[in-house]
């Protein structure tokens, strides 16, 4: 019977016969329609039309009994109540979970290698593998849930082995914990263990492995996630932290309406950041407090939480959402640029060029990075990106923050004292790559080549004070001479919609500078899956426009995908990129005009 409910199976109640083809008789219906759809529809219709005289016998047949006060309900509330009693969603959902999600005792057998950071044959790995309630405690805290009393959080997580009980002293290993060191580590006791059930919670004595648990009393020591073990288990390694595939690209500036609420806002932002591992709260150079999230909707929810839960309803003013940009270059610098130190005794010559395609992403992914073995790094660079083997050994640094997708490469030959100024140039680079010349946004995908250096013979005249500001200037000069461009963040949008809505979707996407790169019909359904790229700045208000255009037949899902170069020249007045640059500079309180090249470049 079960398999006949799906696909090309038809039933004709008149002759009580199953066929695989529609016999075109009036009573012949698809199996699903006959046995699932029709009865549900009938019940709903009778409820909605208040045909109670028909309804009660039908419910009797289905062995659904309603309470007497429920029998007085009318219309939609009646329908809801009837459906809840007849086909409760919770049971169906739970059944699906039991059928399709493996139990921890099974799942942890193969999950252990992805879960545990330490050696896979130690007692902790074994305990996780066997989901052993007698083994050492291994517990991963994944989320902090705001509690009803102000400022406190439940630490929510899963017990992988052992059990956690009220009053137990646990060892908390934070995300920066390194086994054998004391960093990011503390021992505290659990005040209370709680099981969360929907919106209800139940305090229990202990929670054994295989379950989720919320703990009270640890919130001050856990910032976002942590691994918990017994107090004595000093050899345990932490459980691998969860990675999120989305990045916070949409930002709003927040400020409080009443200036004296600032401490409240600051405290609220701290707690927001704790409760949501995705959101980033930071401060701009200009002093604006920024909340960054994955998308417009995410931010909307964050700000609502911030205002209502974390700030006690104090009013906040928010700016319009803005996207962060990156600065890059299109070509190699048109000439070698030179800058002189303040004392005019030292000169740096430099050129900028774009990094090879895919290299910036490789640095982002950590395939190439400052921590690599130099031999390995030069091998990858030479084989995949066509670098010269010797050149690959001459990378001075990555930046910004020493790990970003820009680098400085030494191309000089036979320069005296060069090793002495390396640290100063690197310091200047970290500074410059964080705040590019166009709009003080991060740089991305730029390779700076140090072409030549002329230094004063006396060490005192080529100290950091002379070199660091000069290096910064020459980085900017080489960026400006290499056709600087803006990179804008782009979302990957997935929309599922029926065929008749496609036209509307296309027109909205076109209007928002998006383009569709994949359109696929879902097999067996009239629905289409559309994948498109959409610039993040255009995505503000996209969902509502889309809903309006196709009367709510589809709902888009946006995920940050990549950085896309804006083709227009930001140095050319009136271009779109120039408008963006002016916008950002105004927001940051900078001078509206980009500082001209002549400020950075010197002549002999």
């Amino acid at each position: 019977m079960m398999e006949r409910l799906w696909g090309e199976n038809f039933f004709d109640p008149a002759i009580k016969n199953w066929t695989t083809k529609n016999t075109r008789s009036a009573t012949c219906k698809r199996g699903f329609v006959q046995f699932c759809y029709e009865p549900i529809k009938q019940i709903i219709n009778t409820c909605m039309n208040d045909q109670k005289d028909k309804l009660w016998p039908m419910l009797n047949k289905l062995q659904v009994t309603m309470k007497s006060d429920e029998k007085d309900l009318m219309g939609k509330p009646l329908m809801k109540r009837v459906m809840q009693t007849w086909l409760p969603a919770s049971r169906a959902l739970l059944e699906m979970m039991i059928f399709h999600l493996p139990s921890p005792s099974k799942a942890q057998k193969y999950r252990v290698e992805n879960l545990y950071e330490g050696p896979l044959d130690d007692m902790y790995a074994n305990a996780i593998r066997n989901c052993d309630p007698e083994g050492p405690l291994m517990l991963y805290v994944s989320k902090m849930i705001p509690a009803s009393d102000k400022g406190r959080f439940f630490a929510f997580g899963r017990v992988f082995s052992g059990k956690v009980s009220t009053g137990l002293k646990v060892r908390i290993m934070g995300p920066n914990y390194v086994p054998g060191e004391k960093k990011d580590l503390c021992v505290k006791s659990v005040q209370r263990t709680v099981i969360w059930m929907g919106k209800k919670q139940e305090t229990v004595e202990d929670v054994p492995c295989g379950n989720t648990v919320a703990m009270v009393g640890l919130d001050q020591f856990i910032t976002k996630n942590a691994t918990l073990t017994n107090e004595k288990e000093v050899d345990a390694h932490p459980i691998r932290a969860m990675k999120f595939s989305v990045s916070p690209v949409v930002r709003v500036a927040v400020q409080c309406r009443v200036a004296s609420d600032l401490p409240k806002l600051v405290e609220g932002l701290k707690r927001l950041s704790k409760s949501d591992p995705m959101v980033v709260c930071c401060i701009e150079e200009s002093g604006e407090l920024i909340v960054a999230g994955a998308g417009e909707l995410h931010l909307e929810i964050c700000l609502k939480d911030l205002q209502e839960d974390f700030m006690g309803g104090a009013e906040i003013i928010r700016s319009d959402p803005v996207a962060s940009f990156r600065e890059t270059v299109l070509e190699r610098s048109c000439r070698t640029v030179m800058s002189k130190s303040p004392n005019k005794h030292n000169r740096l010559y430099m050129e900028a060029r774009p990094l090879e395609e895919g290299l910036a992403e490789a640095i982002d992914d950590g395939r190439i990075g400052p921590r690599d073995d130099p031999k390995n790094r030069s091998k990858i660079l030479a084989e995949e990106y066509g670098w010269d083997k010797d050149l690959a050994k001459k990378i001075w640094c990555f930046g910004p923050e020493t790990t970003g997708p820009n680098m400085v490469v030494d191309m000089c030959k036979g320069v005296q004292y060069l090793n002495e100024i390396k640290d100063s140039v690197v310091a200047g680079f970290q500074w410059a790559s964080k705040e590019g010349a166009l709009a003080e946004e991060n740089m991305r995908g730029i390779c700076f080549e140090v072409c030549d250096v002329v230094l004063h013979a006396d060490a005192i005249h080529r100290g950091g004070g002379q070199i660091i500001p000069t290096a910064r200037r020459v980085f900017y000069a080489s960026q400006l001479t290499a056709k600087p461009r803006l990179l804008e963040p782009v979302y990957l949008v997935e929309i599922q919609a029926p065929e008749q809505a496609l036209g509307g979707i296309y027109s909205v996407l076109n209007q928002k500078r998006g383009h569709v790169f994949e359109e696929m019909q879902r097999p067996g359904t009239p629905l289409y899956n559309i994948k498109a790229f959409l610039p993040v700045i255009e995505s503000f208000g996209f969902s509502s426009t889309l809903r309006a255009a196709i009367s709510g037949q589809a709902f888009p899902q946006c995920v940050f995908d990549h950085w896309d170069m804006m083709s227009s020249d930001p140095l050319e007045p009136g271009s779109q990129a120039a408008a963006h640059v002016a916008d950002i500079r105004c927001r940051k309180g900078l001078r509206e005009q980009i500082t001209p090249l002549s400020e950075y470049e010197d002549r002999l």
């Binding site: 701009e284 400052p370 073995d373 001075w396 002999l604």
Partner: protein, 492 residues
């Protein structure tokens, strides 16, 4: 320009003669230096030819020209300083000083007209502050204003210049009546027993009636948009402020640029919280209490578990500060009006002692109040040894919680200062061995560690090659283009 009047020659002579000074230093800012010889001639004539008073002209002061340069004056053994031009009227520590503000020109009728029309639209009571150069005209403005608006019952408070003679304070912490700030006082002057609150800022003092706060008043500033003005804006950031520009005869009501500074300062405080090493810049050698302030800062930084270095370098500029790349933030201990140094050119931010207190004493929070002068700061916040909260600190720069370095439990670092370098080197060497070719440097917690992580450690000895290097001919010519280079550039 009437030299006699503008430089108050007769008052100056009277001051010198009355106190029997024999060696007098005349301190000029750069823009008034051109008048110095004439002033000296005038003054000498006034003092009488027979008088043997030594007059010395001082220029190019080490720190801000608004402060009295006591160190410069003591080079010539002067027993008093006559200060010309704009001043912050910060109290001195050893020498008495006499300040000549000069007399900036102002069109009084025009000013009064503009002001009265503006005050007509705004119902708030008003406090009038002004640049010291306009002090001479204030009485007239006051009279004219009262005359121009006889019917309105506007409350007008004019501030007074504290005193143009600065006497060194014996103990800067014991503030006398004149220096008292933000404290209530009861004066037994001719007006009777009026009680109120006395405010003083940048050499101006004024009283508010009891029960009134500064926020209830409209602030009017007469004068240019200089550091004294930004001082006022920052200190009274809750007030509505208008500025009357005397050189252009217009009222400026938009001070958003100045308000922006406050936000920027807030950012700098957040940035300072993340710092591991702090440089204390000595920005004055004259303002009373500067030594106390430096000690207080050192103690504060030590308690916060950070490392402090004290640097004396005259007026800071980007090139000088970049010589200390290991410092993550600098605290500029100077007089109130030169304290605000903000330029994007600096590698590390420069903050004021007040901001340092906000950043480094855990648990303190920015409430909007802003203090720039030492004596207020020393009075307002005695160092409290707070228990460090166990919770990790939230860093707004990194957008997440960070772990602070524990303050060193036993001050071993301090006791064996000479060995600190060696110890740190030893530790760092062990670390480096693990990852010799890494391009990433850990965050250094002290200067010694910073030097160890640098890739360059000084001249390298080539022990194995004992033969001398071949003889080479060096470059010659000027640094802007050595010989040989110039011709190359021309050939292109």
């Amino acid at each position: 320009m009437d030299l006699e009047l503008n430089f108050e020659i007769s008052r100056t002579a009277e001051f010198i003669l009355s106190r029997n000074f024999t060696r007098v230093a005349l301190q000029f800012p750069d823009d008034l230096l051109k008048h110095s010889t004439k002033v000296v001639t005038c003054l000498r004539n006034k003092l009488g030819l027979g008088n043997k008073v030594g007059l010395f002209v001082m220029a190019d002061t080490t720190f801000g020209s608004c402060c009295v340069d006591e160190v410069g004056a003591s080079h010539i053994g002067a027993d008093c300083v006559i200060h010309y031009g704009h001043t912050c009227l910060s109290s001195t520590s050893t020498l008495p000083a006499f300040c000549v503000f000069g007399k900036a020109s102002i069109n009084i009728s025009c000013c009064v007209e503009k002001l009265s029309s503006y005050f007509g639209t705004n119902g708030k009571p008003i406090v009038v502050l002004y640049g010291l150069g306009y002090a001479h005209a204030i009485l007239q403005i006051k009279g004219a204003l009262v005359e121009a608006m006889p019917k309105t019952k506007l409350e007008l408070i004019f501030s007074d210049v504290m005193c143009s003679i600065i006497n060194p304070l014996e103990d800067h912490r014991k503030s006398d009546g004149l220096q008292e700030c933000l404290g209530t006082y009861s004066s037994g002057n001719s007006l009777g027993a009026a009680t109120g609150t006395r405010y003083s800022l940048g050499g101006l003092t004024w009283d508010l009636p009891e029960g009134q706060r500064m926020e209830d008043y409209l602030l009017l500033w007469i004068g240019p948009e200089n550091s004294a003005f930004s001082n006022v804006v920052l200190t009274f950031n809750g007030c509505e402020i208008v500025r009357y520009d005397a050189t252009e005869d217009q009222l400026v009501t938009d001070v958003s640029q100045q308000k922006r500074i406050l936000k920027r300062r807030y950012y700098l405080v957040e940035r300072a919280k993340d710092a591991n090493m702090v440089g204390i810049l000595v920005g004055t050698l004259g303002v009373a209490g500067y030594l106390h302030m430096i000690h207080q800062m050192k103690e504060l930084i030590r308690l916060a578990g950070k490392k402090a270095y004290t640097l004396v370098m005259g007026r800071p500029n980007p090139a000088k500060l970049a010589n200390f790349p290991e410092c993550d933030v600098f605290i500029y201990v100077s007089c109130a009006q030169t304290a605000l140094l903000d330029s994007k050119e600096f590698l590390a931010p420069v903050i004021t002692p007040f901001e340092a207190m906000l950043a480094f004493s855990s648990g303190s929070q920015w409430t909007g109040a802003y203090i720039l002068e030492f004596r207020d700061l020393i009075n307002s916040s005695q160092l409290e040894v707070r228990k460090r909260p166990e919770e990790a600190r939230f860093s707004f720069l990194k957008g997440g919680y960070v772990e602070d370095f524990e303050p060193r439990e036993n001050g071993d670092e301090d006791h064996e200062g000479t060995l600190a370098l060696a110890n740190a080197t030893e530790k760092a060497l062990q670390l480096r061995d693990r990852d010799p070719d890494s391009l990433v440097k850990g965050t250094a917690k002290s200067g010694a560690e910073f030097f160890v992580t640098r890739s360059y450690h000084g001249l390298e000895m080539h022990a194995n090659s004992s033969s001398p290097e071949p003889y080479l001919i060096g470059r010659s010519g000027k640094a802007s283009g050595y010989k040989g280079e110039k011709s190359e550039a021309e050939a292109l």
